[in-house]
């Protein structure tokens, strides 16, 4: 879902965006992954060679894909779902920036819906990385979620964005 919104936002923003996803049995039990590439030029590489931004929302996904983070890439994770233990950390890259946010908890407590954790993460990421503009993301969210939940989701996005802005300094 987050991947779709991100890609869609990229498309809306006039960029080229491409999303791939792991399917089937793999996506049921273990680690599920969605890759998004956003670029100003024609996208010819189908699978990103490294992850510039890795949004981790489950432990198996984190464990599996952490090694793929690019040099200087960022790891953004839901600290309610994922534990960064030292060994996993080691597997990451020295130059990886890591940002944890208690998204599920915020979703639960502030919004009463665990599912918006996704959107909180997106907002958080948007603030921290600026990959796609918050405007495009907000539009993509509006068009992607059920009409009745648009407001809720946008609020959650903004909340995440706010939290991100607070930590933005660390990146630069």
């Amino acid at each position: 879902m987050a991947g779709y919104v991100l890609g869609r936002a990229g498309t809306l923003a006039g960029l080229n965006a491409l999303q791939t996803q792991s399917y089937g049995s793999e996506s049921r039990g273990g680690a599920c992954k969605s890759d998004v590439i956003v670029s100003k030029t024609e996208i010819l590489e189908l699978a990103p060679s490294g992850l510039d931004v890795f949004i981790a929302m489950s432990q198996p996904a984190l464990d599996k894909y952490l090694p793929d983070i690019s040099d200087g890439g960022s790891l953004i994770y839901d600290s309610d779902l994922v534990t960064l233990n030292t060994s996993a950390d080691d597997a990451g890259n020295d130059s990886t920036y890591t940002f944890g946010i208690s998204a599920t908890d915020i979703a639960h407590k502030s919004f009463g819906h665990d599912v918006v954790a996704n959107v909180i993460m997106l907002g958080y990421m948007s603030a921290l990385t600026g990959v796609v503009s918050p405007e495009a993301l907000r539009q993509a969210i509006s068009e992607s979620v059920p009409p009745k939940t648009v407001e809720l989701n946008l609020k959650a996005f903004d909340e995440g964005f706010k939290k991100g802005e607070m930590r933005e300094g660390e990146l630069k």
């Binding site: 491409l18 999303q19 399917y23 590489e45 189908l46």
Partner: protein, 382 residues
């Protein structure tokens, strides 16, 4: 063939920008092409074509029916076509194998229909959720007996839609089944998709035919339900449709014509994309999703001064052999990155005398730009 309601609905979509799956784009291509019947059976990675059709067909006064298997699906698709609907199915390797007998029936009865094969990694169940491009030769030779085939392979989500419209048009024009040879990679990735304006589309009408174009090889099609007492059979038949299963000449005439109508109209069907070909010494020939990293690699090598060209068959069958023969005379080597063990490369070998280098990759992963680039460098030095 499209109702006003259908055209009206499609007009509301015109120009809209989507972030869509290749599978979805295929479905929309069908809708814009005038398809009003989908008969299918779920299979990864083609199910999203069915799901999109199930959702959208009612909007164009069309019908989605899921069958008990792939054999029933293709049978119903042919039946629906005979009854007057532009019709299609979508499947992947295992289901495509099961459809082969009736694809032969569609050829023999000259019934238009479109079969989408979103290729996954086989043989057999293989890596069911992983993409491949290894049904290139099944698409051509999966059914028994002598026959030709039309098949196209798109390499972007937008092209999925565009080429699908072309598939329907060619299917109607030549009264032949047409295969959209998509791969799981393109079927399951999302990118930008812009819907066309139905007013801009040139749709080939059911039963219409273009005399100038056809060299007299295709007769207009007579549909059922219009009081003509039309007889259709997959057995050998005379020009009037009546069975004659013993005369050598009747069979020869029928089959020769059915092959010739594709072969002689080759130039009207074949579509290729060529880039950097003028001074190329090496050519990369690639199709479908895998042609994207291939192009990426060619661009990169060109930037470094390597004289490498890029050639992409968009139509896979009939094959663009003559063009490759010409190219083969000017270049030293042909490199073929594909997500199989050299199925396109084999066909190219029939037409050129220069070495055809297989740059195969299997196991459910497309080439990276780097991999193709390395192959170019290795093969350009020598």
């Amino acid at each position: 063939m499209q109702t006003d309601r259908a055209t009206g609905y499609l007009s509301t979509l015109a120009g809209k920008v989507q972030f869509a799956l290749g599978d979805e784009a295929i479905a929309y291509g069908a809708l814009f092409a005038g398809c009003t019947f989908f008969g299918g059976y779920p299979i990864t990675p083609a199910s999203e074509v069915a799901e999109t059709m199930a959702r959208e067909l009612p909007n164009v006064d069309g019908y989605y029916v899921q069958f008990e298997d792939e054999i029933g699906s293709i049978a119903a698709v042919i039946g629906a076509s005979r009854a007057g609907a532009k019709s299609m199915t979508a499947t992947s390797g295992p289901g495509f194998s099961l459809m082969q007998e009736n694809i032969g029936y569609a050829i023999m009865t000259e019934t238009p229909c479109v079969v989408v094969d979103v290729q996954r990694s086989g043989p057999s169940t293989g890596q069911a959720t992983k993409p491949a491009q290894a049904d290139v030769l099944q698409a051509r030779w999966g059914t028994h007996g002598d026959h030709e085939m039309i098949a196209f392979a798109p390499n972007s989500v937008q092209e999925c839609l565009d080429v699908m419209i072309e598939c329907f048009n060619l299917s109607e024009r030549y009264r032949h089944p047409v295969v959209l040879l998509a791969d799981g990679e393109i079927g399951h990735l999302r990118e930008k998709l812009v819907f066309p304006d139905p007013a801009d589309l040139d749709l080939f009408p059911r039963g219409g035919f273009d005399a100038a174009d056809e060299a007299g090889l295709v007769e207009p099609m007579r549909a059922y339900g219009e009081g003509n007492a039309v007889h259709i059979t997959g057995s050998t038949h005379k020009e009037n449709g009546m069975r004659d299963v013993v005369s050598q000449d009747v069979h020869e005439r029928l089959i020769t014509r059915c092959c010739a109508k594709i072969d002689k109209n080759r130039d009207n069907i074949i579509r290729v994309e060529e880039r950097f070909m003028d001074d190329a010494e090496t050519v990369v020939v690639s199709f479908g999703a895998d042609s994207r990293p291939a192009l990426g690699a060619v661009v990169r090598a060109r930037n470094e001064g390597v004289k490498v060209g890029y050639f992409r068959p968009i139509s896979i069958w009939p094959f663009c052999g003559e063009r490759l023969t010409q190219i083969g005379k000017r270049v030293r080597k042909i490199l073929v990155p594909e997500m199989n063990l050299g199925q396109l490369a084999r066909e190219i070998e029939r037409f050129v005398s220069v070495p055809v280098v297989r740059v195969s990759k299997i196991g459910g992963v497309a080439h990276s730009v780097e991999e193709v680039y390395q192959a170019i460098i290795e093969n350009s030095r020598s």
